[in-house]
């Protein structure tokens, strides 16, 4: 199949190929005219500190940049900084409480003024200002001071030792903004600076000419960009809106656009579009895993206010035999093939990447075993006693409410899994909820994924960058959403095990990649072998570009548009 070959090519050889031929595409800045990008979700602002949405982050990454960012393999690479500070090169002190960045020499903003360490410090002040509602505050967690010994040096001090100190000023989430432009926009005043929020002055390859919120952004090459002859394109048209199908169609079938972001479409549909021959898809894998969460508490509406809280354990999902049988009945390979095709791989881990963290201990789940699941349930004494085809445990029939957000692929997953579970004597009722309600955290709504008023629920989660510490800490006891926390928290299954909490605490103090990887794997295995979560598919990102657009290197660890300065017009 054409799709598969193109993908294989893209994944393995694409990066190398562009680097090798890069030399042939040099010339004056702006030589290649206009490049048209379509995002089916439209950006509403150009300031990632005021909106943490992926669409805004990526649009803003054309203009403003961090000190360091992740490359396509997830390695940190210096961007505005000279090099990435480490303990070895003396940039990070031994206990991880201080990190020293040095800016590249001669950096200038798009308005021509020099970039100084004051701007870096200001970016921290901006995000941590009281009442600003900064969406990236997590990046600056525990930062107690940012010092500027000279114009190019920035020293970041943390209140606690950070085994992984690359939160502040790293990645598309935490770029450097210009102090002169945003000085009057601190805290509650942030929304008043519409001009600055729509047209930030940056160091990136492009500057905004016109910003229409939720519609279209036009950008022009930054005349003061630090690299000679880049970017190759004089202008960018960044259109937003519509749906993934239409975005894919406009690149792959009609050729109206050059680059389409995040095509969440059935593999057959993409293959058909690609057959038109106008463009190709690229894909790469990050840390996204589609998983089923298994509720450990009882969501019965009759319990009133104590519904889905630790006060009432689930009548049968607390039995590991049931959870394991549910997992064994699922054919992950088939699900993935139908839902994602080459853009997904079946997985048995919630922590599937980067490779160093991926455990091999649970791969048995890749093979569907309905007979085994039936035998397991029979063995545990959970059998159908009243002849209705549904098993009972202590008189409670195994009937599940299975909820997820509205999305064509998820509904196909639900239908398939419902059928497999029926084969092991478990009845399932499906429910899908509008994504804006499901992923919202409105404590007044019964349908949020945190409240989890259902027996099982399915969604995708991932983590920023490459360090899983915060992600793995999601399943500690105190992260369980409950009325006292206004139903906030990340531990949806309400899993609670002191041994797991200990591991999480240990990881926060352990430095050294090997040791951290061992801990992360151990935590992953613990969750997996208890079947608290049933991972299904390790999801890749699929984007498409036209045949005449060269230099695209898909990056799932940072903004997809991270290397737009290297894009160029190729001969179709």
């Amino acid at each position: 199949m054409k799709y598969t070959t193109a993908l294989l090519g893209a994944v393995s050889a694409f990066g190398i190929a562009t680097m090798a031929f890069g030399a042939a595409h040099e010339g004056p800045r702006g030589r290649d005219g206009d490049v048209k990008i379509i995002y089916w979700q439209a950006p509403s602002i150009m300031n990632p500190y005021l909106s943490g949405g992926t669409k805004e982050l990526e649009a803003a990454s054309l203009v403003i940049e961090p000190l360091a960012r992740y490359d396509q393999d997830g390695n940190l690479m210096p961007w505005l900084a000279e090099s990435v500070p480490t303990v070895e090169n003396g940039g990070v002190n031994a206990d991880g409480t201080q990190i020293t960045w040095v800016l590249k020499e001669g950096l200038v903003w798009s308005d021509g003024s020099p970039v100084t360490s004051e701007d870096v410090k200001f970016s921290w002040e901006y995000c941590t200002a009281e009442g600003g509602g900064c969406a990236q505050a997590e990046k600056y967690l525990d930062v107690t001071a940012v010092d500027t010994p000279d114009d190019r040096t920035v020293v970041v001090t943390f209140g606690v030792g950070k085994p992984f100190p690359y939160g502040p000023f790293v990645g598309a989430q935490a770029p450097i903004i210009q102090k002169a432009q945003f000085a009057d926009c601190l805290g509650p005043k942030a929304p008043e600076c519409t001009d600055a929020n729509f047209n930030p002055i940056g160091t990136g390859p492009f500057t905004v000419t016109e910003f229409r919120p939720n519609d279209v952004i036009t950008l022009a090459a930054n005349e003061n960009y630090r690299e000679e002859g880049k970017p190759a394109f004089a202008t960018v048209t960044f259109k937003g809106g519509g749906d993934a199908t239409a975005a894919g169609r406009s690149v792959l079938e009609t050729g109206e656009f050059d680059y389409a972001w995040n095509l969440q479409l059935a593999p057959d549909v993409i293959a058909q579009m690609e057959a038109a021959g106008k463009g190709m898809t690229v894909s790469a894998f990050g840390t996204s895993v589609e998983r089923i969460m298994v509720n450990q508490t009882n969501p019965d509406p009759a319990l009133g206010d104590e519904r889905a809280t630790a006060a009432h354990p689930h009548p049968f999902l607390t039995d590991i035999a049931v959870r394991q049988a549910l997992s064994m009945a699922i054919d992950r390979a088939l699900l993935t093939e139908i839902g994602y095709g080459p853009a997904g791989t079946p997985t048995c881990n919630v922590l599937p990447a980067p490779a160093i963290y991926a455990s091999m201990a649970n791969d048995g789940c890749l093979v569907q075993d309905i007979a085994g699941a039936n035998a397991l349930l029979d063995g545990a004494g959970i059998v159908d006693t009243d002849g209705d085809g549904v098993r009972e445990k202590d008189g409670v029939p195994l009937k599940l409410l299975y909820q997820t957000s509205t999305n064509a692929v998820r509904q196909d997953y639900q239908a398939l899994i419902k059928q497999w579970w029926s084969e092991i004597g478990v009845e399932t009722e499906l429910r899908n909820i509008s994504a804006s309600v499901f992923f919202g955290s409105d404590p007044g709504s019964p349908d949020t994924f945190q409240k989890f008023f259902a027996d099982v629920e399915m969604y995708t989660n991932n983590f920023d960058g490459t360090d899983p510490e915060a992600y793995m800490a999601n399943w500690t006891c105190d992260q369980a959403p409950r009325p006292e926390t206004q139903w906030q928290g990340n531990n949806m299954p309400r899993y609670c095990d002191a041994a797991y909490d200990d591991l999480a605490a240990q990881m926060a103090q352990t430095s050294g990649l090997e040791a951290r990887a061992a801990l992360a794997k151990q935590m992953n295995d613990m969750l997996m072998q208890n079947y608290i979560m049933l991972p299904l598919t390790h999801r890749g990102r699929v984007s498409a570009h036209s045949n005449t657009l060269g230099g695209v290197v898909l990056n799932v660890w940072d903004s997809e548009l991270w290397n737009i300065a290297d894009w160029y017009r190729a001969d179709g």
């Binding site: 300031n47 943490g52 900064c134 919120p213 036009t218 809106g241 406009s250 804006s436 955290s441």
Partner: protein, 335 residues
């Protein structure tokens, strides 16, 4: 009739205030969260801070009062300032969208051109096609023209735009390559060629939308004409020796317009409301798309403002329809 109009206009003010309050309470009650679309990697505490920075912590009545003052006082002042270069509105906070952190009205104004070009035009086209179809269909009931008209308009109405839109894109953009599938909102008409391009990018969304309007209005027109064609006054008019044209187009048409005027008046505010699905399919990004993205992002100031403008138009156009009834049929008296 004039006193009636004035009385109704005065009555419209408390009505609108009440509607505004209802909308506000409804939006407040509806489940949703402005941070729902943020990635799951952003921790709950940060989301809480974002919500507080948006003013969500305040009680409902204070938020409603603030919004009302901004809408009926600050925004008109701003408009005045814009046209006359004054600075009356200095220091007054405007209605700010939670998504873009910019004034709501600025975005609305930005969206009006494409909304009028596409949705407005489709309405005009739809009405202009529907009236003759309805009249001829009724006059020649059960003729071939009537049968075809019925068939096409019923199919047109029962096949939703999410399907017809994609169908025409596949035919005219993908297979034939004649028309663009994505509407360029930054395009400005300056000469003949840009005008042709504008026509090309408009034709598909306009036709898809006009199909629905035409189907609906032509059915009402036909039914109402049929009712009147058999009335005694038509026989009288014919007996008087009036030409057939005058009988049908003056006497019958005038008396048949009441339901049609109602339907048309109900449709005009909907033009402002935009066409959510069609705009989405053709990436027109007009007011319909603005509303639906605002609802999905739970951008309450934006949703509230848009629906309130919508409510004003509804009240206004229903009043216009009521006045037109009196013009069309002088026997109708409200006093």
């Amino acid at each position: 009739m004039l006193t009636y109009t004035i009385r109704r206009l005065l009555l419209a003010i408390p009505t609108l205030l009440f509607i505004g309050l209802c909308i506000f309470l409804l939006l407040d009650l509806a489940p949703g969260d402005p941070t729902a679309q943020l990635p799951l990697t952003i921790p709950p505490e940060v989301k809480q801070e974002i919500r507080e920075s948006l003013g969500l912590g305040q009680p409902v009545h204070i938020r409603f009062w603030k919004w009302l003052v901004q809408f009926i006082w600050v925004e008109p002042l701003n408009m005045f300032d814009y046209f006359f270069g004054t600075a009356f509105s200095e220091g007054w906070p405007r209605i700010i969208s939670w998504q873009s952190r910019s004034p709501v009205m600025d975005i609305v104004v930005q969206r009006i051109p494409q909304t009028l070009w596409v949705v407005g035009m489709s309405y005009v086209v739809g009405v202009l096609i529907a009236l003759p179809i309805g009249i001829i269909s009724a006059y020649r009931q059960y003729s071939v023209f009537d049968q075809v008209g019925t068939f096409v308009s019923m199919i047109g109405y029962s096949v939703p735009p999410f399907f017809t839109g994609v169908l025409v894109i596949v035919i005219f953009s993908v297979q034939l390559g004649w028309l663009p599938s994505i509407y360029d909102t930054t395009h400005s008409v300056v000469d003949w060629e840009t005008f042709v391009f504008q026509l090309k990018q408009m034709v598909m969304p306009v036709m898809v939308l006009a199909l629905q309007t035409t189907a609906q209005i032509s059915r009402f027109m036909r039914a109402s004409m049929l009712d009147n064609l058999n009335q005694d006054y038509v026989r009288t008019a014919r007996a008087k020796g009036l030409s057939e044209q005058v009988v049908v187009l003056v006497h019958v048409l005038r008396n048949s317009m009441i339901p049609v005027v109602t339907v048309i008046a109900l449709g005009v505010p909907a033009v402002f409301g935009g066409a959510i699905i069609t705009e989405q399919i053709f990436k027109v990004n007009g007011i319909g798309q603005l509303l639906i993205t605002a609802i999905q992002a739970n951008d309450l100031p934006m949703v509230q403002t848009l629906t309130f403008i919508f409510a004003i138009l509804i009240v206004l156009f229903n009043l216009i329809a009521d006045v037109l009834y009196g013009v069309l049929d002088p026997r109708i008296r409200y006093d």
